[in-house]
């Protein structure tokens, strides 16, 4: 049986070649993007041996125009979104799972139901609400709504595995409530927080429609929006546009490379929500 498994079949070879080919198709556009990002091409009719490669586009993105500002905006919003989502969702998950709140299961069902609603449905009223409370063109508009039902659901799933004994023991010792949450609960659910952070990071960094609608002042653009608008200009510097795409990709990619395992687990968990 073992030999049957290990035997190299023609099917196996063809399959391996095909999967390898597919993997190449997955990265080829990104390699192309990276190569182009070192050029200043305005036309694609070129001889590659005449093209000069330099870092000018990256300099432009970081130090010039509103681009540097949009990059900073995205970083601030994403970091705030991660902290905010972790905190709000962990608190809610703890309340739902460990506290005897009357009617909590009904409320939780309502929470879950909101996960099914497409973002385009809430887009217009959300915009009008934000306008009313004066949050358009602010960081708050982008990160506050990120703490949704999905995070609560995900952390609650994990919280089910946390033994009540820890909480009871702390209560016996007269440990104040806020300390139980910060010193006992948060450390115990750390793996779930890591997953949620990764999920929020990628979702927030890559989000487009809401930042496009909510923040329309140049100085409040997120990087993804700035990247998109750069491409709609007529005299496109392909190199600059590809450099911006590279930067936009590089940041979540760095996270992916350093935390691959948690990343894939987090994203797969996110799959439950979609």
């Amino acid at each position: 049986m073992e030999t049957a498994r290990k035997k190299i079949s023609p099917m196996g070879i063809i399959g391996t070649v095909l999967v390898t080919l597919f993997a190449l198709i997955c990265v080829a556009p990104l390699i192309y993007m990276l190569l182009m990002s070192f050029t200043q091409l305005r036309s694609l009719y070129i001889r590659w041996d005449e093209v000069t490669f330099n870092l000018r586009n990256y300099y432009t993105i970081i130090f010039k125009n509103d681009f540097g500002r949009s990059l900073l905006n995205s970083i601030i919003v994403t970091v705030l979104a991660c902290i905010w989502t972790d905190l709000v969702c962990a608190m809610a998950a703890y309340g739902f799972e460990k506290k005897p709140v009357p009617g909590k299961e009904k409320l939780f069902k309502i929470f879950l139901a909101t996960m099914m609603v497409p973002s385009q449905v809430t887009l217009i009223p959300l915009f009008l609400t934000m306008r009313k409370i004066g949050w358009l063109n602010s960081y708050a508009a982008l990160f506050v709504p990120m703490a949704g039902a999905f995070g609560v659901f995900m952390i609650r799933q994990f919280m089910k595995g946390v033994d009540d004994v820890y909480i009871e023991a702390a209560q016996m010792d007269g440990c104040p409530e806020y300390k139980i949450f910060f010193k006992i609960i948060l450390p115990l659910i750390q793996p779930a927080l890591v997953s949620l952070t990764i999920f929020t990071f990628v979702a927030c960094w890559n989000s487009f429609l809401w930042p496009l609608v909510a923040n329309t002042e140049n100085s409040m653009y997120t990087f993804t929006v700035a990247l998109s608008l750069l491409n709609s200009q007529h005299d496109t510097n392909y190199g600059l546009s590809m450099a911006a795409a590279t930067v936009s990709f590089a940041i979540p990619f760095a996270l992916y490379v350093t935390m691959q395992k948690q990343f894939i687990e987090g994203i797969a968990l996110g799959g439950v929500k979609g």
Partner: protein, 294 residues
């Protein structure tokens, strides 16, 4: 003692409410109330500047009379029909093949590589593909030129522009579903595979009779997720084609955006959004029923 226990319980409930409160306020303000408002606005004429005026079903009548709406609906459905089966099947085949034949370092490398497009934003992905798909000098046409194929106007031809949108979507999604499938394949009890092997089942037979039935719950989940996410396609259309040429790549979500924020017809756009919501709820309902039957 008993009394103290009761107040203790009350106190715990009070703490619980405090813990839940922030998320409740957020979900109420930014999710529940907006859903109700969206339904309300869909019955009004509203341009953002003068107050909303109740006009009954007029928006819906207008929507169902609009040729653009039918294009958008048809494109959205077509898009779901093309992307979901292709990405699901590719993800399944790749996951099963890697799990079965390319274990070890190389398999892990392939898996990590195929996952990479998942973390690329839709906008960056579309930006790159847009440059690659350029008619004049784009790398794809240059490549095809080697085989004597003359320049193809990818994004300027109706059917091709639509296919390109599907292509970018599939490119971005396969890795995501592959990872979920891979975890599923690893969870299939070894004994079943071995029993099938003992019975002399061919690889194809094992695939159809052991692997696929075991992965059925995951397939339901992936298909549902795929349908729902494809129903909401916006970013790639926005970046790659802007809905064109003509209305050949316009989708429901794209229509909501343009009618609300370019044409300032918020009531009309809300009606389209509500129709989109009804479709998504119907898919959830169907999936629920399918799950209960199994």
């Amino acid at each position: 003692m008993k009394k103290r226990g009761l107040t203790g319980r009350k106190q715990q409930a009070f703490y619980g409410i405090l813990y839940i409160l922030p998320s409740f306020v957020i979900i109420l303000m930014f999710s529940i109330i907006p859903i109700i408002l969206a339904v309300y606005f869909s019955f009004t004429k509203y341009d953002m500047y003068s107050p909303a005026e109740f006009i009954g079903l007029q928006n819906y009548v207008g929507v169902f009379k609009s040729a653009t709406f039918y294009s958008a609906l048809w494109n959205t459905l077509k898009y779901v029909i093309v992307t979901v089966p292709v990405q699901t099947l590719l993800a399944l085949l790749i996951a099963v093949f890697i799990a079965d034949k390319i274990r070890g370092l190389y398999g892990a490398l392939l898996k990590s590589t195929i996952f990479i497009p998942v973390i690329v934003s839709n906008i960056a992905a579309a930006a790159v593909w847009k440059v690659m798909l350029k008619t004049k000098g784009g790398i794809i046409n240059s490549f095809l030129g080697v085989f004597g194929i003359s320049d193809v106007n990818w994004l300027g031809t109706k059917a091709l522009a639509f296919l390109c949108i599907c292509l970018v979507t599939i490119w971005k999604n396969v890795g995501y579903y592959m990872v979920i499938y891979y975890a599923g394949v690893m969870g299939i009890p070894k004994e079943q595979q071995e029993a099938a092997l003992m019975d002399g089942a061919s690889p194809a037979q094992r695939f159809w009779h052991v692997t696929v039935p075991n992965l059925r719950p995951i397939t339901y989940m992936i298909v549902t997720l795929g349908i729902i996410s494809s129903f909401q396609i916006f970013d790639i259309v926005f970046q790659l084609t802007g809905g064109g040429p003509g209305t050949s790549t316009i989708t429901l979500a794209y229509m909501v955006y343009t009618y609300a924020f370019s044409n300032q017809k918020l009531g009309y756009a809300s009606a389209i959004a509500v129709i989109l919501l009804l479709f998504v709820l119907a898919i959830h309902w169907l999936q629920d029923r399918v799950f209960k039957e199994r």
